[in-house]
Amino acid sequence: MKYTSALLFGSGFLISLIVGWFLFPAALYRSEPQPIQFNHKIHTGEKGGMACTECHTTDDAGKFQGIPRIAKCAECHAAPLGESDVEKILVEQYTTPNQEIPWHVYSRQPDNAYFPHASHTTLGKMKCVECHGDHGNSESLEVYQVNRISGYSRDIWGKNISGIQSQPWEGMKMDRCVRCHAERSRKDGCIACHK
């Protein structure tokens, strides 16, 4: 009898923990499939043997172009090279009608973030892997998850809801940039990276 209050209190406590740690993340993110199951491995592996920068180019002004436009795909995939269904979809739905592929970008930063790839790769000699992980060797695209409230890709916060990340490339929030810049004792104003 005298334990009831403790019991009630405890159960409330426990339920909250379950809600907060498991139900909440499930509810917070909405999953959206990628339009095409792109296989990096085929392109970068010994089969394709391409470097990241062959498709992920920069323009004359040095601006990084992100995911290549359909024209780039069409260079090779104007007609099917193989038998895969994925490629069939690519050719039929996109390259032939010259339709841009509506990719979901895992690492898409908000409009007010200015991230010059050139400063980091060309000047800073950083590797793509350092921020994007071994994305280049992935066989398929993991499902894209978007935060229902903030509209950010889940990869910006990182897979782990607690915000504590196991891998150095997980999580792409500002504090990560700040940490790295601080380690290199750079003195920057906010507008150095915000637009």
């Binding site: 002004a61 040095g62 010059p116 400063s119 003195k187 920057d188 915000h194 637009k195």
Partner: protein, 257 residues
Amino acid sequence: MNSLSEKKSRYGMVIDLDKCNGCGACSIACTIENNVPPAELKANKRSGITWIQIHTVSNNEQYPNGDAVFIPMFCQQCENETPCMTVCPQNAVDIDPSTGIVGQIPQRCLGCRYCMTACPYHARYFNWWDPQWTEGMMKQLNPEVAPRMRGVVEKCNFCHARLHAARTKAAANGESEINPEDYIPACGESCPSKAITFGDLSDENSEAAKLSKEKNTFRFLSRLGTEPKVYFHSERTWIKDMAEKALTRTRMEEHHG
């Protein structure tokens, strides 16, 4: 590591008021460059967002002896005890140590408007309305400047996005210094009468630095001691006196005998 910020520049501007004929091109170029929305129906001179407000200032002489100048007024990029920066409660305003440009981060701003009360030049603007463009204009926004949301403060930052572009370009070529020609704010670029000279004031040979030291170059409210980095130039002495409140100084002397 990228050593862009190792060289300390102090970007500034000199505006030749004798050349300015108040055509408004700078104001429009600025508005377009920085994705400032068109005036809301109810907006007016006091509630609108026009980063470069061009004031027509007359010496108040009677016709036909009057004289007037056009004064483009915008953020003067104060360097000393920057009024807006020191008051912002959450560091939404700061001076970039590598450029001396006073930056405003609308996404950090909570819209308390304390910085606006602090600014002696009234060069900060609050988004009283949600920004609105016509459907087609929405697709014509400058992709290098983030639009602001309702309820935050914004202001001139010397078209910082253009500095970004210049830096990207330099970095892509493996250079750590930007080419000065790559970085000119929209107002300076668009001015048909070339009245605006922009440059690095800490670089002795830059045109801006030279002009800023000329005899008839002055700054507004310089006696507040905020060390603005926007200079004005005019042969007309009356505007110089007005700007520096030299007249009030003499009036003070009369006042105290």
